[in-house]
Symmetry: C2
DNA sequence: ATTTTGTTTAACAACCCTGTTAGACATTGC
DNA sequence: GCAATGTCTAACAGGGTTGTTAAACAAAAT
């Protein structure tokens, strides 16, 4: 069972690498660390992937693509009214972050040290965002003209949602870094989600008075 | 002129170090880099500061203290009505970030790699924030009970403001990293500031219809 | 003037990190 | 069986990084 153990080791290395990269970022992660966590000699790491950058690419390309899905979720689901859909967008985006809580942190770090990373990011999801914004603006304008919602730019709305959502998880990483009480964090997150929806809702909805 | 040149060199090293740390973070900054930028031999860096961590401490302790001022600005200035004061808080906080645009980025990075950094941060400004929140909550409750503003938790309000403000500068760092057109960035920032005030305002103010 | 003290340099030691390589060992195909 | 190929290890080379040190140099103190 050589091939099996081989595939297994490659997997182990990838998993270990993902963990280390996510936790410490590219720069701070050492191939020896990855090897240790994977339980293999560090020569193995280079045998399978040659360079540290190779390992990193394999992982982050997948991660970047993952970002597309929640963005595209914004554009889909035409069956709901716009305000309800925006609500759903917040929910989807927030839950995506909840499922990948280290992602904002990770991206933040890589964006800082990896100029290449920024370029790849822009190439891979920049146009998706731009297109989504344009589409959203058309819909927004329709509702604005019909006097249903307040005047707002799509970029501002998206920026507001992303800011509020993403920053929640950055703050959690900072303040609750040792906290092990998942239940407590969960309650905190649900509270924030409600608050964010409320804030965005009040920003756009024209007629008033909801509890 | 030995003492003068000495103080000068120490200053040069500190300035160079600040620049490098801000740009690349602790891990990625090398003492040789600092020496090079300061225009001294790298032995000088160790002569004056012994260790890289020492240099870092000197700088970030100042920076962390800088964070206090805009927070305390929240509590002061009792002469205005609460909604106007919250407006002023946003303005002050935003302008503080504008004057120190690399700070969010820098803190983000250090928070990630320096567990000690988080502790220092908590020690130095954690209680200031907690106290400010408590004070703010009392005032908020007063306005809420009088039916002037919507029900909201002080922590949520603060979190909303900080999220929207800080994330603006993180986003700028990412998307406009090469951009040299300060005027364009300035317009973008003013637009964001207006939008953030609008969003927070609509979140808290009960009676409606303002342009 | 000379001792003491502080500044500066060049060279170096120790360490860690990435990546390679020679050779051992196992597996597969013929 | 045996050749070819793939997996694996231990050892190492090369390069960079932090921090030290001996010795030169300058200034200040006595």
């Amino acid at each position: 069972m050589d091939k099996k153990s081989a595939r297994n080791k490659k997997e182990l290395i990838l998993k270990a690498a993902e963990h280390e990269f996510m936790a410490n970022g590219y720069e701070a992660t050492k191939t020896t660390q990855i090897a240790e966590r994977a339980g293999v000699t560090h020569a193995m790491v280079h045998y399978y992937f040659q360079t540290k950058e190779n390992i990193f690419r394999k992982i982050y390309e997948d991660k970047i693509d993952m970002l597309k899905d929640p963005i595209l979720a914004i554009v889909e689901s035409k069956d709901l009214e716009l305000p309800q859909r925006i609500d759903a967008i917040i929910e989807t985006h927030f839950d995506f972050l909840k499922a990948n809580p280290e992602l904002p942190y990770f991206l933040m770090g890589e964006i800082r040290n990896n100029p290449v990373f920024i370029e790849t990011l822009k190439d891979r999801i920049g146009d998706v965002i731009a297109k989504s914004c344009k589409k959203l603006q058309v819909e927004l304008d329709d509702y604005i003209n019909r006097g249903i919602i307040n005047s707002i730019l799509a970029e501002d709305l998206v920026m507001n949602i992303v800011s509020l959502n993403v920053f929640t998880f950055i703050a959690i990483s900072v303040t609750q870094s040792h906290e092990r009480d998942d239940n407590k964090i969960n309650l905190l997150l649900e509270q924030r989600k409600r608050e964010i929806k409320e804030t965005i809702n009040r920003r756009i909805i024209k007629t008033e008075k909801q509890a």
